[in-house]
Amino acid sequence: MGRVRNWQIGREMSYWYPEARPRRQFAAVFDTNKCISCQTCTVACKTTWTSGKGQEYMLWNNVETKPYGFYPMAWDLKLLERLGPQTWADGVYEGRTLFEAAEAGERVLGWRPEAIDYAHPNVGEDDCAGGAVERGAEYAVPHDRWFFYLARICNHCTYPACLASCPRASIYKRPEDGIVLIDQERCRGYQECVKACPYKKVFYNPMTGTSEKCIACFPKFEQGLQPQCFVNCIGKIRFAGHVSTPEHAREDNPIDWLVHVKKVALPLYPQWGLEPNVYYVPPIHVPRRFLRQMFGPGVDAAIETYRGAADDPDLAALFCLFGATERVVPRWKRTGDVVIGLEEDGTEIVRVPVREPVFIRRAFDAARQVVRTNTP
């Protein structure tokens, strides 16, 4: 058992292995406010990676409707319940991480899903609920109506629970980019990783007898391209790149700037202690208590910053780079009303106007003597 630094919880913590950060860390920012849950990301991933036997139920990428959508069922609630109430103080997590709360004989506090837990990938999808069952709602809940879409992939954690839990050391974190992979030659399908991963992003393949997971489309990422679920995103909510530790954050690295400088994108359940590397812009309309539990104590400041994007030219600009190119954009800058994505060496990849020009068409086309109809 090692002692490692976890900047997301503001302290050192226990981990099965000593600290060994990769040279660079794959990371992503998802803007939950833009997601429409079209599941194009899910389909893009599914058709690319999980069309084989035993992979039928697997969604390495999924989008669930919070608070009642889950895949697998109640993945986060079950663990939150097992961990019990914990506290933060001044940005430092005072509670126990999943490694620190491990029970006797275990390396991680986890729970084992069963096949039936994957049978309903998004219960309550698009259902506002809230007491109108007689008018068609699926169920009633004793709180105000709200929901938001949470898109999820593997977090390629700095301290992966799957990796820590594998008794065979079949899971490894690549030193060059921090992507977490299961060695398909070595895995013997013990499912310890399925039990340990709190995000439930490791899946057992009953036909090959091994466990499988999101690979961050590493064959693409190695070529400087963003993963399939990113480039197929209709809502342009996703941005892939690399994240630094706070002390090495670079303002011209888009992910660093959003995560460390503006602090507008937050990790998912940071209190679990894995230092996950998908960062979420929290939804602006959801009760804060719920969001603080899900994204940590930085939620209020993040939402205030996000709400101010219209008056923050840089923030407004950077969000325009989301979905603008298939290439990974390691650097960025803004010039007036244009945001520019750059390679590490400064070569321009893409430039995007921060505000699209507005064209107004007359409904009646005099040249063709027809009335145009806008079809949404």
Partner: protein, 285 residues
């Protein structure tokens, strides 16, 4: 040494042999009785007369992940040899059949472990030690079911599953053609990499080598075989493996056993196991 072992049998047989000839017992060791041919079927009559060693099973609570709740209390072992191979018949109580793989579902299984070399200083019984390997023959109920004819299809696990299409079963690919087979392999990463876990499976047994916890690896080739059947209250499994390289006739070595109860989600290091048990390999009479 052989005669001493023979005396132990005789005493046990005499002590319990006056009221209906219960099978003889060997209290302190497993004896591989010399036979001209080995019985690969656990139900074969040849096994009935052989001495049984009752090996108490211990919790694997040495390395994480540990098993903290005891389950299967003992395994009853018989053994025979034809001079070239060793056959072990393991029988244990298990009220439920667990032979379907799935998420959160685990298979009943057992294993027979021998040191790779015979030396007075045996390696640690817990999966061997660095530089001092142990050889393991591992039988799994879910593999037995495949060998016995369960189809290689998701509907064999989930009968209600509906599958629209697998890309490697496209109409443009003649079924069973080299192109079709190659494509099917690409969609099963573990199989493409030659991981024996992924099949295709012709035997219910896999040969493994280990040099300490977490070092388990497949042997270059599985030369062992076996067969497991349900009994009235559990499993009876025969594992037949080649004679260890350094073991000759009338030789002594060690053997250890492990049992996994799938119903209790035992898998990998979460198992019931024995320490080393002395093994006498009888020579020709």
């Amino acid at each position: 040494m052989r005669s001493r072992s023979g005396r132990i049998f005789a005493l046990v047989v005499l002590a319990g042999g006056c009221g209906g000839a219960p099978p003889p017992e060997s209290a302190t060791e497993v004896v591989a009785v010399r036979r001209p041919t080995l019985a690969g079927d656990p139900a074969a009559a040849d096994w009935a007369a052989l001495p049984t060693h009752r090996a108490a099973l211990l919790l694997q609570d040495v390395v994480e992940p540990r098993l903290l709740a005891p389950s299967t209390p003992e395994v009853r072992v018989k053994a025979m040899t034809d001079g070239a191979r060793l056959a072990f018949r393991l029988e244990w109580s298990d009220a439920t059949t667990n032979d379907l793989p799935d998420t959160g579902r685990f298979s009943d299984a057992c294993a027979v472990q021998l040191p790779a070399t015979t030396a007075p200083d045996v390696p640690a019984p817990q999966m061997g030690e660095a530089g001092r390997p142990v050889e393991i023959a591992y039988w799994r109920a879910s593999w037995q079911a495949v060998v016995d004819g369960r189809p290689d299809a998701i509907t064999a696990i989930h009968p209600g599953a509906a599958v629209d299409h697998y890309p490697f079963e496209a109409a443009s690919l003649p079924p069973g053609s080299p192109e079709q087979q190659a494509m099917a392999k690409r969609y099963a990463p573990a199989r493409a990499l030659g991981n024996p876990m992924a099949g295709p499976r012709a035997k219910p047994v896999e040969d493994l080598v280990s040099e300490g916890p977490s070092t388990l690896r497949p042997a270059g080739e599985t030369r062992s075989d076996g067969r497991g059947v349900r009994t009235a209250g559990g499993w009876a499994v025969v594992v037949v493996r080649p004679m260890p390289a350094a073991v000759g006739s009338d030789a002594r070595t060690q053997v250890a056993f492990a049992v996994w109860d799938g119903e209790r989600r035992e898998v990998g290091a979460r198992k019931m196991r024995t320490g080393w048990v002395p093994l006498l390999v009888e020579g020709p009479r």
